[in-house]
Subunit: 217 residues, 2 copies
């Protein structure tokens, strides 16, 4: 079996040296190239076909987030494992959205790296426990924030029905046709919605609905 070809991207030479040694100690891994920032990496992948990229996030010139995005745009099958030092990481969401296959701390145990490489190489993904915890915490924060804001008023059935249609982009006339009611009635229901939500026209109402997640995308 061929060795798994790995590229290292990190701005600290010392870290790369240490990490390369660690990886080479796995018999099934070969470090085929290194880059010290995003730009260097992007030109590098033109000439090398790697299986897995270990990508630092904080780097000068072009950081890991943008480098990953650009690389994946051109080579969507690239498998990237993001590396981060601390847990106060604001880039987590961005990096996940960029489409990385793994995310772990530089301080992880040797066995973790081994596990991660194998899993990602086989088409899976790997996230260290700390990262998962962090993500979960962020979700919780989000939830609490929403909860606080959500003293939503109560809507009647008709109002909910009308609001749904409004948020689909229907005008009063179309809503009237869809519900077999007169335009005037629709207008009244909208008026009630305005009052209950503290808005004063349709656009505001739609914005309100989106912000309070009453409607789904």
């Amino acid at each position: 079996m061929d060795k798994i070809k790995v590229i290292l991207v990190d701005d600290h030479k010392i870290f790369r040296d240490g990490f390369r040694m660690l990886l080479q100690s796995f018999s099934f891994v070969e470090v085929i190239a290194e880059a010290s920032n995003g730009n260097e990496f992007l030109s590098l992948i033109e000439d090398h076909s790697a299986d897995i990229i270990f990508m630092d996030i904080n780097m000068p010139q072009l950081d890991g987030v943008e480098a990953s995005q650009k690389a994946l745009e051109k080579y969507p099958d690239l498998k990237i494992i993001a590396l981060t030092t601390f847990l106060d990481d604001d880039y987590l969401e961005q990096m996940l959205m960029a489409g990385v296959e793994g995310y772990m701390l530089k301080s992880a145990e040797i066995e973790e790296f081994e596990k991660a490489i194998v899993k990602v190489y086989e088409g899976g993904n790997y996230f260290s426990d700390e990262i998962v915890s962090l993500l979960s915490d962020k979700l919780n924060m989000l939830r609490k924030k929403r909860k606080k804001k959500d003293d939503l008023p109560e809507f009647t059935d008709r109002e909910k029905e009308v609001l749904e249609l409004i948020c689909k982009g229907y005008g009063n006339k179309q809503i009237a046709e869809a519900t077999f009611l007169s335009i005037k009635t629709i207008e009244k229901h909208k008026s009630s919605l305005f009052q209950k939500t503290g808005t004063y026209n349709t656009v505001n109402l739609v914005i309100y609905a989106f912000k309070h997640q009453i409607i789904k995308f």
Copy 2:
């Protein structure tokens, strides 16, 4: 040290029986109660102070999602570990948003449950690898969908300016005042926006903007 007090919620008695036995085999765990659906669980927690809840998701009467939401509303410090059978789970996001501390497959290994209980009891959280993979896949799907849709038209500076104000809920008059232009001009810019986006009124335009993430919440 006291035993960790656990409540089981699942509609299948056989599963509860087997799972209880499994848990009791850990010397540090005590199953103090069981419920066969969400409603039963909600009345149960009034009388029991549990450390950890194992909560099935698909249940008759009141499912795991709503039960968890309601329970956590009343007792925010409750620690819930969600259990699911299959991986085709549409409730994943909802359950995470509800604020569960863990999420795992019923088919998990014994050691996994042990690990999960300890971690969650100590204030952490636990998600099985399969769940994490699923979540990551969903994120990837989301990303790809956004990418595909994002052949957004190009807007002129004025148009962007007007669009921003529209999405703040401003009417034509207010936008005109804010930009020192005539209402008619604003109307024309909006008209251009309609054409470029394929929409035909302000409400539709706002919806378009939200869906394509042109504006931020």
